[in-house]
Symmetry: C2
């Protein structure tokens, strides 16, 4: 049976020692997040995730969600009370707007709680998680009346939310979508159409489910410029907020899928469902991007979360399982064999995962802090800079953290040998669950295109220029420190490769856009390695300082310094291969005629 322990100490080190969140005290909500409060919150979240959510992860996977003939969906046993514990703790509204009942704490803290919950039980964590994207879109684009009607219930968790984008014939290319919105006399609309892959589309955890739905108002222009966003509750709501009649929408079936069996992935049928426009007509795509960006960071966290819990279980196994002897001579001659942690290749697997996990967590927090600045700062320049970084990094986090997170669950599974393939041990579930994160909220190939095709060139490349400048300033500030040399040299090499790749696109993608498309995936992965490397350099600096200041921290800080060194020596060299593939260009990819595939 797998287990999970939330990495609270790790997070506190990142928040205080690496990123010094006290610097953000002037932002709304941050003053309340004193070190004591933060630690108390994290410990509470850890307790809930470890004791309530995690024990339902395997049983939820086995039981799955069950739809009855009326279209009602029953979640796995125990999910209902666990969800109640989650909302009773106020976790849905941790960072939400106090105007609507939220606690207004930093988004950064909510991101951490999201990681813990997703490690403990990804399927269960998705139910409240999906409300976040909906809330973001609603609070940005909804009317005041809509906000007042829906936000408090979503923030309390009494209701949950969904996002209805995909249709059978279109996912990425939403311009093709067919769901129709017919105006009613009272200003509402009637929705007709079918949506697929709707996570948490129907379930028994909340008294109402609020669907955000992309649809085309009759007579609207074709393509993406004719798409509008609608809100359609499962049960209609009286002006006083009371639950009314069942709306004309229903779950038509549940998908049988590879993993996240505890979350109901629904086909949703809209048969004249009453819905209300959110924002302006034909401007639904803008509103959708608000919720998508929010959701993409959430999905990035799932990649890290599965990698973390898989690591913990693989490391525990490697320290217990006796098999073979150390190449350097028996380490435990009194035992029948040494634990497999003595074998270099077992350590390689574990270190690759760990060197990712620690830096990925740092990257999530670093980006989340930018998100907090971008959404809360009163300083226009700071806000713009933070929004730039957030926009640039969002596809990188989504694409790279879910790719590497999945790969890491596979490595962790491998550490257990045959036992890794057996359901009882839980490792194969991490692999199956992690796999979806590379696909939904924009498949990772789409993230790469968003990065290269949109984010790089935006505002004359302002975001990427600032990103390079920030890393270079860090290198310059620290290059006098001999102890920092192992971390800076790898980072320098990576940045150099990323700059060369960026330059290559500038020179070769204008005349032939397929050169950008062909190299986009490698560019995203290269970017991810550089971003993770930058995190390791910052972690190393903080660890060196902390080790110098406190002898009792030496072991923990040395472990970080060694893991960071491993990252630079063993993982950063991949940037050269990415660069080679990018500069190989599109010809090899495009020359083969379609029918030859």
């Amino acid at each position: 049976m797998p287990s999970y322990k939330a990495p609270v100490g790790e997070v506190l080190f990142l928040l205080h020692d690496v990123f010094d969140i006290s610097r953000y005290a002037s932002l709304p909500g941050f003053a309340d997040a004193t070190p004591d409060v933060v630690e108390a919150i994290l410990n509470e979240a850890a307790k809930l995730c470890e004791q309530t959510l995690q024990p339902l992860n395997q049983t939820g996977d086995r039981a799955g969600c069950v739809r009855d003939k009326n279209g009602d969906v029953r979640t796995p046993e125990g999910f209902k009370s666990a969800y109640k514990a989650f909302i009773d703790g106020g976790w849905v509204g941790l960072a939400a707007d106090p105007e609507f009942g939220g606690q207004g704490l930093p988004y950064t803290l909510a991101a951490i709680v999201n990681e813990f919950a997703s490690s403990a039980n990804m399927s269960l964590a998705m139910y409240p998680g999906l409300s976040q994207g909906l809330l973001a879109a609603l609070l940005t684009h909804g009317s005041q009346a809509q906000k007042e009607l829906y936000a408090p219930k979503l923030i309390s968790g009494a209701w949950s939310g969904t996002m209805n984008l995909t249709e059978p014939h279109c996912g990425t290319d939403l311009g093709l979508l067919k769901t129709r919105a017919v105006p009613n006399a009272d200003g509402s609309y009637a929705l007709f159409g079918q949506k697929i892959f709707i996570s948490a589309g129907e379930h028994d955890l909340t008294e109402n489910i609020i669907h955000l739905v992309l649809a085309r108002i009759e007579g609207a222009p074709a393509g993406v410029k004719g798409i509008s966003l609608f809100i359609a509750p499962k049960f209609l709501i009286g002006p006083d907020g009371s639950i009314g009649a069942r709306n004309k929408l229903a779950c038509g079936s549940i998908e049988h899928k590879m993993g996240i069996h505890g979350n109901s992935t629904c086909v949703m049928n809209y048969d004249g469902a009453t819905a209300w426009l959110v924002g302006e007509p034909h401007r639904g795509l803008n509103a959708m991007f608000v919720m998508m960006n929010e959701a993409r960071l959430g999905v990035a966290l799932q990649g890290l979360a599965q990698s973390e819990v898989a690591y913990q279980n693989a490391a525990a196994y490697a320290k217990e399982r006796l098999q073979g002897r150390s190449m350097a001579g028996p380490k435990f001659p009194e035992k029948p064999a040494d634990p497999i942690i003595v074998h270099p290749d077992v350590r390689r697997n574990l270190l690759e995962i760990r060197a990712f996990n620690e830096a990925a967590r740092a990257l999530v927090l670093w980006t989340s802090l930018r998100s907090d600045v971008a959404h809360r700062s009163g300083d226009a320049a700071a806000l713009e800079g933070a929004a730039d970084t957030l926009g640039l990094l969002t596809p990188v986090l989504k694409g790279v953290l879910t790719d590497m997170g999945f790969e890491n669950t596979v490595k962790a599974q491998q550490v257990l040998g045959g036992h890794g393939y057996i359901a009882e041990w839980g490792m194969e579930q991490f692999v199956r669950d992690a796999r979806i994160a590379m696909i939904y909220e924009g498949a990772n190939g789409i993230q790469a295109l968003d990065l290269v095709g949109r984010k790089l060139a935006k505002d004359g490349g302002r975001a990427i220029i600032a990103f390079f400048a920030e890393i270079k300033a860090f290198i310059k500030d620290n290059e006098a420190d001999a102890e920092m040399a192992p971390y800076l040299s790898g980072l320098k090499q990576g940045v150099d490769h990323l700059e060369q790749a960026t330059m290559w696109f500038m020179q070769n993608a204008r005349a032939k856009p397929e050169n950008a498309g062909a190299g986009s995936y490698d560019y995203m992965r290269l970017f991810g390695l550089v971003a993770l490397g930058f995190m390791w350099a910052q972690i190393a600096r903080a660890a060196l300082a902390k080790r110098a200041g406190a002898e009792d921290q030496a072991d923990v800080m040395n472990a970080k310094l060694l893991t960071g060194k491993f990252f630079m020596d063993h993982m950063m060299p991949e940037t050269g291969a990415h660069l080679a593939r990018i500069t190989a260009g599109a010809h090899d990819l495009m020359a083969l005629p379609a029918e030859a595939f």
Copy 2:
């Protein structure tokens, strides 16, 4: 619903144009394998796999194997008649010794049929597949009486075989095994113990199941030098070959696992089962390696097989699914969108898979031909050279073909976006099924250690020296040909990296063996890329020749030349990153104390 078409034309091109099997006509069995016979055999195998095995792949996955309370196991519906069709076609004994009823055809042909069958239905193909390893051990180490008793029935497929190595507390480290063999008065033994992860351990397909079991004769030395090999049939066999009483062995349970649900993975309990020694006492490990090596090539094939069928289904989807527009302008303006095959990143995924598949198939055939020479040649020097290559390449094929094969199923799944995650489409089954091949018959980390720790240094490095010499001779023979330049330059670079890595081990692993362990996995993957690159160079040469000779072959040969070029430009650069990691050495891996993980 996924589909499968066996790549018969592809195989014929490899056999005749690339490797010219007519050169081997003097080997036993090869004279019978005329081009017409080979083509007829492949077409028959293709028909069986496409029409009989493949339609049961998804249904078998869903139904799984069911054990009743008596320990009997029911395979999925249809498996019994499909197995019967397989054995009625004589496929189990295709390459087996005619003395015991086999057809004596080249092993190379059997390997091809194995690929087809594993693509069509990996779980089902494993039942006859497992008999092969047992047969190899029996024919090498068994007594004449044992051969006569068991081999004909195994070769006809009337009985099937299993390999019983793993126990709950030991897999890789067989020196720890506890199963006891107590001598009976009549020269037989009574086996006591529990074996786990026994593929096809119990089922309803054959009238008897023959178990090869590693056990320790009472009083035997500890460790691997006290292990003996036994044969224990499910039903005892009369001297006339008749089926007798039930032996004291049974399936205790079926494992619930990630994939290959159609194959019964059993816990086998030996409660005094009557068994007979195979070969000499305490020399079981030798006999085991015979069956393991055989089985490892079979598992390598599974990696290729899943990659191939996943490619076919992803490519078909990419040519049909309409989504978005080509970056170079709409290709099908009359359609609502272009098929996704126009997008460079979709092509990247497909080409990475295909560039592997074609070269991996070549590598399997190239190695299988060496196996045929090693087992059948009358020329001692040729036999030695072939056995060297076979020994050197076996861990590379097992490790790299299953690693990359699995990675390819993930890429193919990604091409389908959300549909890739849904069971109905079948892609996620390929991922789940392919995953086991990286684990069983020696986890891939063990393959890497076998390569670096045993195969490299064997006989003064004779095998690796010959391997380098063969590639260099090829390069030299072809470097005057300008059309070969794109293929030779990538290969040269790869070989250079592999030589540097080999040299680095020679200089750094003697004093510190952990340097070899730390770099072993990267070395195996680097070796695999070079071997695949060598295959691409040979394919390119054959394709250039064929294109020059026959205009109607131009399209097919151009596709090969382009795919090979893609391999050199996009996949070969990885060798540099592998070399960097190898030469980074063991320090970063070993410095962290075990308790810090």
